[in-house]
Protein backbone atom coordinates (compact mmCIF):
# COMPACT_ATOMS: atom_id res chain seq x y z
CA UNK A 1 0.00 0.00 0.00
CA UNK A 2 1.77 3.21 -1.05
CA UNK A 3 1.99 5.80 1.70
CA UNK A 4 0.28 8.59 -0.26
CA UNK A 5 -2.97 8.19 -2.10
CA UNK A 6 -2.33 10.05 -5.37
CA UNK A 7 -3.82 7.91 -8.13
CA UNK A 8 -1.82 7.05 -11.25
CA UNK A 9 -1.83 9.41 -14.25
CA UNK A 10 -3.83 6.91 -16.34
CA UNK A 11 -6.62 6.94 -13.76
CA UNK A 12 -6.44 10.74 -13.65
CA UNK A 13 -6.78 11.26 -17.39
CA UNK A 14 -9.62 8.70 -17.46
CA UNK A 15 -11.59 10.57 -14.76
CA UNK A 16 -10.92 13.98 -16.35
CA UNK A 17 -11.93 12.74 -19.81
CA UNK A 18 -15.18 11.42 -18.31
CA UNK A 19 -15.83 14.83 -16.70
CA UNK A 20 -15.39 16.66 -19.98
CA UNK A 21 -18.24 14.47 -21.25
CA UNK A 22 -20.20 15.16 -18.04
CA UNK A 23 -19.90 11.59 -16.78
CA UNK A 24 -18.89 10.61 -13.26
CA UNK A 25 -17.28 7.26 -12.47
CA UNK A 26 -20.04 6.16 -10.08
CA UNK A 27 -22.67 7.30 -12.64
CA UNK A 28 -24.04 9.97 -10.31
CA UNK A 29 -25.22 13.25 -11.82
CA UNK A 30 -23.05 16.29 -11.03
CA UNK A 31 -25.29 17.57 -8.22
CA UNK A 32 -26.29 14.21 -6.74
CA UNK A 33 -25.19 13.29 -3.20
CA UNK A 34 -23.87 9.79 -2.48
CA UNK A 35 -26.34 7.57 -0.62
CA UNK A 36 -26.36 8.77 2.99
CA UNK A 37 -27.16 6.42 5.88
CA UNK A 38 -27.42 7.59 9.50
CA UNK A 39 -27.80 5.10 12.35
CA UNK A 40 -27.95 5.75 16.11
CA UNK A 41 -26.63 3.38 18.81
CA UNK A 42 -29.47 1.61 20.60
CA UNK A 43 -27.68 1.29 23.93
CA UNK A 44 -26.32 4.80 24.43
CA UNK A 45 -27.42 8.39 23.68
CA UNK A 46 -25.34 10.57 21.38
CA UNK A 47 -23.53 7.88 19.34
CA UNK A 48 -24.09 8.38 15.58
CA UNK A 49 -22.71 6.32 12.70
CA UNK A 50 -22.84 8.21 9.38
CA UNK A 51 -22.07 6.48 6.08
CA UNK A 52 -21.74 8.79 3.04
CA UNK A 53 -21.05 6.36 0.20
CA UNK A 54 -17.84 4.64 1.31
CA UNK A 55 -16.88 7.42 3.74
CA UNK A 56 -17.77 6.44 7.31
CA UNK A 57 -17.66 8.62 10.42
CA UNK A 58 -18.79 8.01 14.01
CA UNK A 59 -19.61 10.98 16.28
CA UNK A 60 -19.71 10.55 20.05
CA UNK A 61 -21.35 13.27 22.17
CA UNK A 62 -20.67 13.33 25.90
CA UNK A 63 -21.26 15.81 28.73
CA UNK A 64 -19.74 16.44 32.13
CA UNK A 65 -19.99 19.16 34.74
CA UNK A 66 -17.09 21.65 34.93
CA UNK A 67 -16.42 25.29 35.74
CA UNK A 68 -17.22 27.91 33.08
CA UNK A 69 -14.56 30.28 31.71
CA UNK A 70 -13.99 33.30 33.94
CA UNK A 71 -14.84 35.82 31.23
CA UNK A 72 -18.09 34.06 30.22
CA UNK A 73 -19.77 32.95 33.47
CA UNK A 74 -23.22 32.41 31.87
CA UNK A 75 -22.00 30.10 29.09
CA UNK A 76 -21.35 26.37 29.16
CA UNK A 77 -18.53 24.83 27.12
CA UNK A 78 -18.81 23.11 23.75
CA UNK A 79 -15.72 21.40 22.33
CA UNK A 80 -15.44 19.52 19.02
CA UNK A 81 -12.48 17.16 18.55
CA UNK A 82 -11.82 16.07 14.97
CA UNK A 83 -8.54 14.16 15.13
CA UNK A 84 -8.07 11.75 12.20
CA UNK A 85 -6.55 8.37 13.09
CA UNK A 86 -4.60 6.19 10.63
CA UNK A 87 -7.74 4.02 10.38
CA UNK A 88 -9.28 6.49 7.92
CA UNK A 89 -6.28 6.20 5.59
CA UNK A 90 -2.65 5.12 6.16
CA UNK A 91 -1.48 8.57 5.04
CA UNK A 92 -2.66 10.10 8.34
CA UNK A 93 -0.06 9.69 11.09
CA UNK A 94 -1.20 9.18 14.68
CA UNK A 95 0.71 12.14 16.09
CA UNK A 96 1.15 14.94 13.60
CA UNK A 97 -1.79 17.13 12.45
CA UNK A 98 -1.81 17.01 8.63
CA UNK A 99 -2.87 20.03 6.57
CA UNK A 100 -6.29 18.78 5.48
CA UNK A 101 -6.95 17.70 9.07
CA UNK A 102 -6.50 21.38 9.95
CA UNK A 103 -8.92 22.50 7.20
CA UNK A 104 -11.53 19.95 8.31
CA UNK A 105 -11.38 20.95 11.98
CA UNK A 106 -11.59 24.66 11.10
CA UNK A 107 -14.63 24.20 8.86
CA UNK A 108 -16.47 21.93 11.31
CA UNK A 109 -15.66 24.44 14.08
CA UNK A 110 -17.10 27.33 12.07
CA UNK A 111 -20.08 25.36 10.85
CA UNK A 112 -21.28 24.15 14.24
CA UNK A 113 -19.65 25.95 17.13
CA UNK A 114 -19.37 29.48 15.78
CA UNK A 115 -22.76 29.40 14.06
CA UNK A 116 -24.33 28.75 17.48
CA UNK A 117 -26.00 25.43 16.67
CA UNK A 118 -25.87 24.53 20.38
CA UNK A 119 -27.20 27.20 22.77
CA UNK A 120 -24.34 27.35 25.30
CA UNK A 121 -26.31 29.55 27.71
CA UNK A 122 -28.71 26.67 28.30
CA UNK A 123 -25.70 24.65 29.54
CA UNK A 124 -25.15 26.94 32.51
CA UNK A 125 -26.06 25.39 35.89
CA UNK A 126 -24.77 27.91 38.46
CA UNK A 127 -23.35 31.00 36.69
CA UNK A 128 -19.64 31.36 37.33
CA UNK A 129 -19.37 28.08 39.25
CA UNK A 130 -20.82 25.06 37.47
CA UNK A 131 -21.83 24.41 33.91
CA UNK A 132 -22.14 21.57 31.44
CA UNK A 133 -19.22 20.89 29.10
CA UNK A 134 -20.55 19.17 25.99
CA UNK A 135 -17.87 17.40 24.00
CA UNK A 136 -18.25 16.01 20.45
CA UNK A 137 -15.57 13.46 19.48
CA UNK A 138 -15.53 12.65 15.77
CA UNK A 139 -13.90 9.35 14.76
CA UNK A 140 -13.05 9.02 11.07
CA UNK A 141 -13.27 5.32 10.17
CA UNK A 142 -13.04 5.38 6.38
CA UNK A 143 -11.88 8.14 4.02
CA UNK A 144 -13.43 8.25 0.56
CA UNK A 145 -13.72 12.04 0.23
CA UNK A 146 -16.16 14.41 1.91
CA UNK A 147 -14.84 13.98 5.47
CA UNK A 148 -15.98 17.54 6.28
CA UNK A 149 -19.56 16.87 5.18
CA UNK A 150 -19.80 13.52 6.98
CA UNK A 151 -18.29 14.96 10.18
CA UNK A 152 -20.67 17.94 10.19
CA UNK A 153 -23.75 15.74 9.59
CA UNK A 154 -22.59 13.32 12.31
CA UNK A 155 -22.10 16.03 14.95
CA UNK A 156 -25.40 17.75 14.09
CA UNK A 157 -27.31 14.47 14.30
CA UNK A 158 -25.43 13.56 17.49
CA UNK A 159 -26.43 16.80 19.20
CA UNK A 160 -30.09 16.15 18.36
CA UNK A 161 -29.91 12.53 19.57
CA UNK A 162 -27.94 13.18 22.78
CA UNK A 163 -29.67 13.31 26.19
CA UNK A 164 -27.86 14.60 29.26
CA UNK A 165 -28.80 13.38 32.79
CA UNK A 166 -31.32 15.56 34.62
CA UNK A 167 -30.00 17.54 37.62
CA UNK A 168 -31.39 19.40 40.63
CA UNK A 169 -29.62 22.09 42.66
CA UNK A 170 -29.88 21.80 46.45
CA UNK A 171 -29.02 24.32 49.15
CA UNK A 172 -28.66 28.09 48.71
CA UNK A 173 -25.93 30.67 48.48
CA UNK A 174 -22.39 29.37 48.45
CA UNK A 175 -23.33 25.92 49.82
CA UNK A 176 -25.30 24.87 46.70
CA UNK A 177 -24.44 21.52 45.22
CA UNK A 178 -25.70 19.72 42.19
CA UNK A 179 -27.28 16.25 42.23
CA UNK A 180 -27.05 14.32 38.98
CA UNK A 181 -29.89 11.87 38.53
CA UNK A 182 -28.85 8.70 36.62
CA UNK A 183 -30.75 7.97 33.42
CA UNK A 184 -32.64 5.08 35.02
CA UNK A 185 -34.16 7.34 37.71
CA UNK A 186 -35.15 10.42 35.73
CA UNK A 187 -35.88 10.95 32.03
CA UNK A 188 -32.67 12.49 30.55
CA UNK A 189 -32.90 16.01 29.05
CA UNK A 190 -32.17 16.81 25.37
CA UNK A 191 -29.79 19.65 24.39
CA UNK A 192 -31.03 23.04 23.14
CA UNK A 193 -30.11 22.72 19.45
CA UNK A 194 -31.09 25.98 17.71
CA UNK A 195 -30.51 24.93 14.11
CA UNK A 196 -29.11 21.97 12.16
CA UNK A 197 -26.04 23.04 10.12
CA UNK A 198 -25.25 20.78 7.13
CA UNK A 199 -21.94 21.20 5.29
CA UNK A 200 -21.79 20.59 1.53
CA UNK A 201 -18.56 20.60 -0.49
CA UNK A 202 -18.49 21.62 -4.16
CA UNK A 203 -15.50 20.57 -6.26
CA UNK A 204 -14.54 22.69 -9.29
CA UNK A 205 -12.91 21.35 -12.43
CA UNK A 206 -11.59 23.75 -15.09
CA UNK A 207 -12.68 21.80 -18.18
CA UNK A 208 -10.26 23.76 -20.41
CA UNK A 209 -7.28 22.89 -18.18
CA UNK A 210 -8.60 19.33 -17.93
CA UNK A 211 -8.82 18.90 -21.72
CA UNK A 212 -5.32 20.36 -22.16
CA UNK A 213 -4.02 17.89 -19.57
CA UNK A 214 -5.48 15.05 -21.60
CA UNK A 215 -4.18 16.19 -24.95
CA UNK A 216 -0.69 16.17 -23.49
CA UNK A 217 -0.14 19.92 -23.80
CA UNK A 218 1.88 20.93 -20.79
CA UNK A 219 1.02 23.90 -18.65
CA UNK A 220 3.47 26.15 -20.55
CA UNK A 221 1.45 26.00 -23.77
CA UNK A 222 -1.63 26.50 -21.62
CA UNK A 223 -0.04 29.68 -20.20
CA UNK A 224 0.50 30.89 -23.78
CA UNK A 225 -3.22 30.37 -24.40
CA UNK A 226 -4.02 32.61 -21.46
CA UNK A 227 -2.02 35.51 -22.89
CA UNK A 228 -3.57 35.61 -26.31
CA UNK A 229 -7.18 34.90 -25.44
CA UNK A 230 -7.61 36.45 -22.01
CA UNK A 231 -10.21 38.70 -23.57
CA UNK A 232 -12.50 35.73 -24.15
CA UNK A 233 -15.20 35.92 -21.45
CA UNK A 234 -15.24 32.56 -19.62
CA UNK A 235 -18.76 31.27 -19.87
CA UNK A 236 -20.11 29.01 -17.19
CA UNK A 237 -19.78 25.83 -19.23
CA UNK A 238 -15.99 25.71 -18.83
CA UNK A 239 -16.32 25.06 -15.05
CA UNK A 240 -17.62 21.64 -13.95
CA UNK A 241 -19.13 21.74 -10.45
CA UNK A 242 -19.40 18.42 -8.57
CA UNK A 243 -21.26 17.90 -5.30
CA UNK A 244 -19.88 15.50 -2.67
CA UNK A 245 -16.76 14.33 -4.51
CA UNK A 246 -15.23 10.90 -3.88
CA UNK A 247 -11.58 10.74 -2.81
CA UNK A 248 -10.37 10.32 -6.39
CA UNK A 249 -12.36 13.35 -7.55
CA UNK A 250 -11.17 15.23 -4.46
CA UNK A 251 -7.49 14.59 -5.31
CA UNK A 252 -8.01 15.74 -8.92
CA UNK A 253 -10.16 18.83 -8.39
CA UNK A 254 -8.72 22.25 -9.30
CA UNK A 255 -10.65 24.11 -6.58
CA UNK A 256 -13.32 23.56 -3.95
CA UNK A 257 -15.87 25.47 -1.91
CA UNK A 258 -17.48 24.29 1.31
CA UNK A 259 -20.85 25.85 2.22
CA UNK A 260 -22.79 25.14 5.41
CA UNK A 261 -26.51 25.80 5.27
CA UNK A 262 -29.59 24.96 7.34
CA UNK A 263 -33.28 24.51 6.73
CA UNK A 264 -34.26 28.13 7.53
CA UNK A 265 -32.39 29.16 4.35
CA UNK A 266 -29.42 30.50 6.32
CA UNK A 267 -25.79 30.17 5.18
CA UNK A 268 -23.64 29.44 8.26
CA UNK A 269 -20.20 29.60 6.65
CA UNK A 270 -18.51 29.66 3.26
CA UNK A 271 -14.91 28.68 2.68
CA UNK A 272 -13.71 28.94 -0.90
CA UNK A 273 -9.98 28.27 -1.04
CA UNK A 274 -7.82 30.29 -3.38
CA UNK A 275 -6.87 27.45 -5.67
CA UNK A 276 -9.10 28.22 -8.68
CA UNK A 277 -10.86 31.50 -9.55
CA UNK A 278 -14.57 30.89 -10.18
CA UNK A 279 -17.31 33.20 -11.44
CA UNK A 280 -19.54 34.85 -8.80
CA UNK A 281 -22.71 33.44 -10.40
CA UNK A 282 -21.46 29.89 -9.98
CA UNK A 283 -20.74 30.48 -6.27
CA UNK A 284 -24.25 31.83 -5.69
CA UNK A 285 -25.95 28.90 -7.42
CA UNK A 286 -23.77 26.54 -5.32
CA UNK A 287 -24.96 28.21 -2.11
CA UNK A 288 -28.56 27.77 -3.25
CA UNK A 289 -27.91 24.10 -4.03
CA UNK A 290 -26.39 23.73 -0.55
CA UNK A 291 -29.72 24.78 1.00
CA UNK A 292 -31.55 22.09 -0.98
CA UNK A 293 -29.07 19.46 0.18
CA UNK A 294 -29.39 20.71 3.77
CA UNK A 295 -33.16 20.27 3.65
CA UNK A 296 -32.82 16.73 2.26
CA UNK A 297 -30.25 15.72 4.90
CA UNK A 298 -32.15 17.28 7.80
CA UNK A 299 -35.30 15.41 6.72
CA UNK A 300 -33.34 12.13 6.82
CA UNK A 301 -31.88 12.95 10.27
CA UNK A 302 -35.34 13.68 11.70
CA UNK A 303 -36.73 10.48 10.16
CA UNK A 304 -33.96 8.39 11.77
CA UNK A 305 -34.47 10.22 15.09
CA UNK A 306 -38.16 9.34 15.09
CA UNK A 307 -37.39 5.70 14.32
CA UNK A 308 -34.84 5.61 17.13
CA UNK A 309 -37.30 7.30 19.50
CA UNK A 310 -39.94 4.70 18.70
CA UNK A 311 -37.49 1.84 19.24
CA UNK A 312 -36.54 3.22 22.65
CA UNK A 313 -40.06 3.95 23.70
CA UNK A 314 -40.95 0.21 23.84
CA UNK A 315 -43.56 -0.19 26.60
CA UNK A 316 -44.09 3.58 26.21
CA UNK A 317 -41.85 4.51 29.12
CA UNK A 318 -41.91 8.09 27.84
CA UNK A 319 -45.71 8.24 27.83
CA UNK A 320 -45.81 7.50 31.55
CA UNK A 321 -43.20 10.13 32.33
CA UNK A 322 -44.85 12.90 30.31
CA UNK A 323 -45.77 15.99 32.34
CA UNK A 324 -49.34 16.17 31.02
CA UNK A 325 -50.30 12.96 32.87
CA UNK A 326 -52.48 13.66 35.86
CA UNK A 327 -50.35 13.15 38.97
Amino acid sequence: MPRDLTPSTIENTFVLKALTERIRLDSRSFNQLRDLDISFSSTEYGVVDVKLGRTRVIARISAEITQPYADRPYDGLFIIATEISPMAAPTFEAGRKSEDELVISRIVEKSIRRSGALDTESLCIISGEKCWAVRADVHFLDHDGGLMDAACIAVSAGLLHFRRPDITIEGVGSRREVIVHPITERVPVPLAVLHVPVCVTFSFFDVRRASSAISGRTRNDEAKDVDDDDVEEEDDSSVAVLVDATLQEELLRHGYMSVTANTNREICQIQKGGDMPVDVGVLLSCSEAAIMVAEKVTKLINKRLKEDGARRNVGNLLVEARAENDR
Partner: protein
Protein backbone atom coordinates in the same frame (compact mmCIF):
# COMPACT_ATOMS: atom_id res chain seq x y z
CA UNK B 1 -15.78 -19.98 49.19
CA UNK B 2 -17.32 -21.58 46.13
CA UNK B 3 -18.40 -19.45 43.25
CA UNK B 4 -22.19 -19.48 43.13
CA UNK B 5 -24.72 -17.80 40.92
CA UNK B 6 -25.46 -18.38 37.28
CA UNK B 7 -22.83 -17.15 34.89
CA UNK B 8 -25.01 -14.92 32.71
CA UNK B 9 -23.33 -14.17 29.53
CA UNK B 10 -24.32 -11.64 26.85
CA UNK B 11 -23.80 -12.88 23.27
CA UNK B 12 -21.02 -11.33 21.15
CA UNK B 13 -21.39 -10.39 17.48
CA UNK B 14 -18.55 -9.80 15.04
CA UNK B 15 -18.50 -8.32 11.53
CA UNK B 16 -15.49 -8.02 9.22
CA UNK B 17 -14.37 -6.38 5.98
CA UNK B 18 -16.51 -3.22 6.05
CA UNK B 19 -13.74 -0.57 5.71
CA UNK B 20 -12.35 0.06 2.20
CA UNK B 21 -9.22 2.17 2.76
CA UNK B 22 -7.45 -0.42 4.97
CA UNK B 23 -6.39 -4.03 4.35
CA UNK B 24 -8.43 -5.61 7.13
CA UNK B 25 -11.19 -4.43 9.46
CA UNK B 26 -13.37 -5.99 12.13
CA UNK B 27 -15.90 -4.88 14.71
CA UNK B 28 -16.66 -6.71 17.97
CA UNK B 29 -19.82 -6.00 19.95
CA UNK B 30 -20.46 -7.66 23.34
CA UNK B 31 -23.03 -6.25 25.78
CA UNK B 32 -22.61 -2.46 25.63
CA UNK B 33 -19.01 -2.58 24.35
CA UNK B 34 -18.42 -1.84 20.65
CA UNK B 35 -14.85 -1.82 19.30
CA UNK B 36 -13.70 -1.36 15.68
CA UNK B 37 -10.17 -2.39 14.69
CA UNK B 38 -8.42 -1.79 11.36
CA UNK B 39 -5.19 -3.47 10.19
CA UNK B 40 -3.00 -2.04 7.41
CA UNK B 41 0.08 -3.85 6.21
CA UNK B 42 2.55 -5.28 5.68
CA UNK B 43 3.47 -1.92 4.08
CA UNK B 44 6.35 0.57 3.84
CA UNK B 45 7.88 1.57 7.14
CA UNK B 46 9.75 4.84 7.66
CA UNK B 47 13.46 4.59 8.28
CA UNK B 48 13.36 5.26 12.02
CA UNK B 49 11.34 2.23 13.14
CA UNK B 50 12.50 -0.28 10.51
CA UNK B 51 13.64 -3.65 11.95
CA UNK B 52 16.01 -5.79 9.85
CA UNK B 53 14.57 -9.23 10.57
CA UNK B 54 10.91 -8.79 11.59
CA UNK B 55 7.95 -6.59 10.78
CA UNK B 56 7.44 -3.53 12.97
CA UNK B 57 4.15 -3.77 14.88
CA UNK B 58 2.49 -0.39 15.53
CA UNK B 59 -0.64 -0.33 17.68
CA UNK B 60 -2.71 2.86 18.09
CA UNK B 61 -5.63 2.90 20.55
CA UNK B 62 -8.16 5.76 20.26
CA UNK B 63 -10.59 6.32 23.16
CA UNK B 64 -14.32 6.81 22.60
CA UNK B 65 -14.36 10.14 24.45
CA UNK B 66 -11.57 12.60 25.03
CA UNK B 67 -7.91 12.45 24.08
CA UNK B 68 -5.65 9.35 24.41
CA UNK B 69 -4.40 8.98 28.01
CA UNK B 70 -2.73 6.36 30.22
CA UNK B 71 -5.78 4.10 29.97
CA UNK B 72 -5.14 3.79 26.21
CA UNK B 73 -1.43 3.20 26.82
CA UNK B 74 -2.39 0.28 29.09
CA UNK B 75 -4.65 -1.24 26.44
CA UNK B 76 -1.96 -0.73 23.79
CA UNK B 77 0.63 -2.59 25.86
CA UNK B 78 -1.64 -5.49 26.75
CA UNK B 79 -2.79 -5.97 23.12
CA UNK B 80 0.83 -5.93 21.97
CA UNK B 81 1.69 -8.61 24.59
CA UNK B 82 -1.17 -10.86 23.43
CA UNK B 83 -1.08 -10.34 19.66
CA UNK B 84 2.67 -9.87 19.20
CA UNK B 85 3.76 -13.50 19.70
CA UNK B 86 0.83 -14.81 17.63
CA UNK B 87 1.61 -12.86 14.44
CA UNK B 88 4.38 -14.44 12.30
CA UNK B 89 6.37 -11.16 12.15
CA UNK B 90 9.50 -12.83 10.77
CA UNK B 91 7.72 -13.60 7.46
CA UNK B 92 7.61 -9.87 6.57
CA UNK B 93 10.95 -8.26 7.61
CA UNK B 94 11.48 -4.48 7.22
CA UNK B 95 7.77 -3.79 6.84
CA UNK B 96 5.10 -2.17 9.03
CA UNK B 97 1.91 -3.77 10.33
CA UNK B 98 -0.32 -1.00 11.69
CA UNK B 99 -3.23 -1.87 14.00
CA UNK B 100 -5.67 0.93 14.91
CA UNK B 101 -8.14 0.15 17.74
CA UNK B 102 -11.06 2.61 17.81
CA UNK B 103 -13.21 2.25 20.94
CA UNK B 104 -16.72 3.28 19.94
CA UNK B 105 -18.42 2.32 23.22
CA UNK B 106 -16.06 1.09 25.92
CA UNK B 107 -18.65 -0.79 28.02
CA UNK B 108 -16.47 -0.15 31.11
CA UNK B 109 -17.31 2.02 34.09
CA UNK B 110 -14.96 4.88 35.05
CA UNK B 111 -12.73 2.67 37.21
CA UNK B 112 -12.73 -0.64 35.31
CA UNK B 113 -10.72 -1.32 32.17
CA UNK B 114 -11.45 -4.95 31.38
CA UNK B 115 -14.36 -5.14 28.95
CA UNK B 116 -12.62 -2.83 26.45
CA UNK B 117 -9.45 -4.93 26.73
CA UNK B 118 -11.03 -8.33 26.05
CA UNK B 119 -13.24 -6.98 23.26
CA UNK B 120 -10.23 -5.22 21.66
CA UNK B 121 -8.21 -8.45 21.67
CA UNK B 122 -10.99 -10.35 19.92
CA UNK B 123 -11.58 -7.53 17.42
CA UNK B 124 -7.83 -7.20 16.70
CA UNK B 125 -7.54 -10.92 15.99
CA UNK B 126 -10.52 -10.84 13.62
CA UNK B 127 -9.05 -7.81 11.79
CA UNK B 128 -5.69 -9.60 11.39
CA UNK B 129 -7.51 -12.55 9.79
CA UNK B 130 -9.39 -10.20 7.48
CA UNK B 131 -6.14 -8.48 6.45
CA UNK B 132 -4.53 -11.82 5.63
CA UNK B 133 -1.66 -11.24 8.05
CA UNK B 134 -0.03 -14.65 8.80
CA UNK B 135 -0.85 -15.82 12.35
CA UNK B 136 0.34 -18.95 14.18
CA UNK B 137 -2.89 -19.78 16.01
CA UNK B 138 -6.20 -18.32 17.12
CA UNK B 139 -6.68 -16.01 20.09
CA UNK B 140 -9.78 -15.23 22.09
CA UNK B 141 -10.28 -13.32 25.34
CA UNK B 142 -12.99 -12.74 27.90
CA UNK B 143 -13.65 -10.66 31.04
CA UNK B 144 -14.85 -12.23 34.27
CA UNK B 145 -16.18 -10.10 37.13
CA UNK B 146 -16.63 -11.72 40.58
CA UNK B 147 -18.75 -9.94 43.15
CA UNK B 148 -20.08 -10.70 46.60
CA UNK B 149 -23.31 -8.94 47.70
CA UNK B 150 -24.01 -9.23 51.43
CA UNK B 151 -27.80 -9.27 51.62
CA UNK B 152 -29.70 -8.08 54.75
CA UNK B 153 -30.13 -11.61 56.08
CA UNK B 154 -26.34 -11.65 56.39
CA UNK B 155 -25.87 -14.37 53.74
CA UNK B 156 -23.05 -13.63 51.30
CA UNK B 157 -24.19 -14.43 47.77
CA UNK B 158 -21.32 -14.31 45.35
CA UNK B 159 -21.78 -14.32 41.60
CA UNK B 160 -19.85 -14.23 38.40
CA UNK B 161 -20.55 -11.99 35.41
CA UNK B 162 -18.96 -12.83 32.09
CA UNK B 163 -18.50 -9.91 29.64
CA UNK B 164 -21.18 -7.91 31.55
CA UNK B 165 -22.96 -4.89 30.13
CA UNK B 166 -22.36 -1.46 31.68
CA UNK B 167 -25.75 -1.27 33.53
CA UNK B 168 -25.04 -4.68 35.11
CA UNK B 169 -21.60 -3.47 36.14
CA UNK B 170 -22.97 -0.27 37.62
CA UNK B 171 -25.54 -2.23 39.61
CA UNK B 172 -22.93 -4.37 41.38
CA UNK B 173 -20.07 -1.86 41.22
CA UNK B 174 -19.82 -1.48 44.99
CA UNK B 175 -19.62 -5.22 45.65
CA UNK B 176 -17.05 -6.22 43.01
CA UNK B 177 -14.35 -8.34 44.69
CA UNK B 178 -12.15 -9.12 41.70
CA UNK B 179 -11.96 -8.58 37.94
CA UNK B 180 -10.09 -10.93 35.58
CA UNK B 181 -9.25 -10.48 31.89
CA UNK B 182 -8.08 -13.77 30.45
CA UNK B 183 -6.87 -14.55 26.92
CA UNK B 184 -6.17 -18.02 25.58
CA UNK B 185 -4.36 -19.31 22.52
CA UNK B 186 -6.35 -22.01 20.76
CA UNK B 187 -5.35 -24.50 18.11
CA UNK B 188 -8.00 -26.42 16.24
CA UNK B 189 -10.66 -25.16 18.69
CA UNK B 190 -8.75 -26.54 21.71
CA UNK B 191 -7.17 -24.38 24.42
CA UNK B 192 -3.38 -24.43 24.04
CA UNK B 193 -1.68 -21.77 26.18
CA UNK B 194 -2.71 -18.97 28.48
CA UNK B 195 -1.66 -15.71 26.78
CA UNK B 196 -2.90 -13.08 29.21
CA UNK B 197 -4.23 -13.12 32.74
CA UNK B 198 -4.95 -9.69 34.16
CA UNK B 199 -6.46 -10.00 37.64
CA UNK B 200 -7.35 -7.03 39.85
CA UNK B 201 -8.95 -7.23 43.34
CA UNK B 202 -8.90 -9.75 46.21
CA UNK B 203 -9.42 -13.41 45.39
CA UNK B 204 -8.30 -16.80 46.67
CA UNK B 205 -6.22 -19.24 44.69
CA UNK B 206 -9.02 -21.65 43.88
CA UNK B 207 -11.25 -18.73 42.88
CA UNK B 208 -8.68 -17.85 40.22
CA UNK B 209 -8.45 -21.41 38.99
CA UNK B 210 -12.26 -21.47 38.89
CA UNK B 211 -12.12 -18.36 36.67
CA UNK B 212 -9.51 -19.94 34.40
CA UNK B 213 -11.82 -22.96 33.79
CA UNK B 214 -14.86 -20.73 33.14
CA UNK B 215 -12.77 -18.56 30.85
CA UNK B 216 -11.58 -21.64 28.94
CA UNK B 217 -15.17 -22.69 28.22
CA UNK B 218 -16.14 -19.13 27.23
CA UNK B 219 -13.13 -18.76 24.95
CA UNK B 220 -14.04 -21.92 23.10
CA UNK B 221 -17.54 -20.48 22.56
CA UNK B 222 -16.10 -17.16 21.37
CA UNK B 223 -13.84 -19.09 19.03
CA UNK B 224 -16.97 -20.65 17.57
CA UNK B 225 -18.54 -17.23 17.03
CA UNK B 226 -15.36 -16.05 15.30
CA UNK B 227 -15.34 -19.11 13.05
CA UNK B 228 -18.96 -18.44 11.99
CA UNK B 229 -18.24 -14.76 11.32
CA UNK B 230 -15.18 -15.58 9.21
CA UNK B 231 -16.93 -18.27 7.16
CA UNK B 232 -19.89 -15.91 6.55
CA UNK B 233 -17.63 -13.02 5.43
CA UNK B 234 -15.49 -15.27 3.24
CA UNK B 235 -18.60 -16.66 1.53
CA UNK B 236 -19.93 -13.12 1.02
CA UNK B 237 -16.60 -11.85 -0.25
CA UNK B 238 -16.48 -14.71 -2.75
CA UNK B 239 -13.39 -16.24 -1.20
CA UNK B 240 -10.84 -18.10 -3.28
CA UNK B 241 -12.99 -21.18 -4.03
CA UNK B 242 -15.98 -20.03 -6.08
Amino acid sequence: MTVLGPAQRSPATATTAFLYRVDGSASWTVGTAHIIVSVSGPMEVNKRDELPDIATLEIVVRPDVGVASTREQFLQDRIRRVVGPVIALELHPRTLIQIVVQIVQSGDTKTLNTIALSASINATYMALLDAGVPVRSTVSATSIVCYGTSSIQGGLTTGVLIDPTRPELEKIEKDITSVHTIAYELKGGQIERLLLSESVGTFTEDEVFECYDTAAKVCEETNGTMREAVTKSVQQKGGWRD
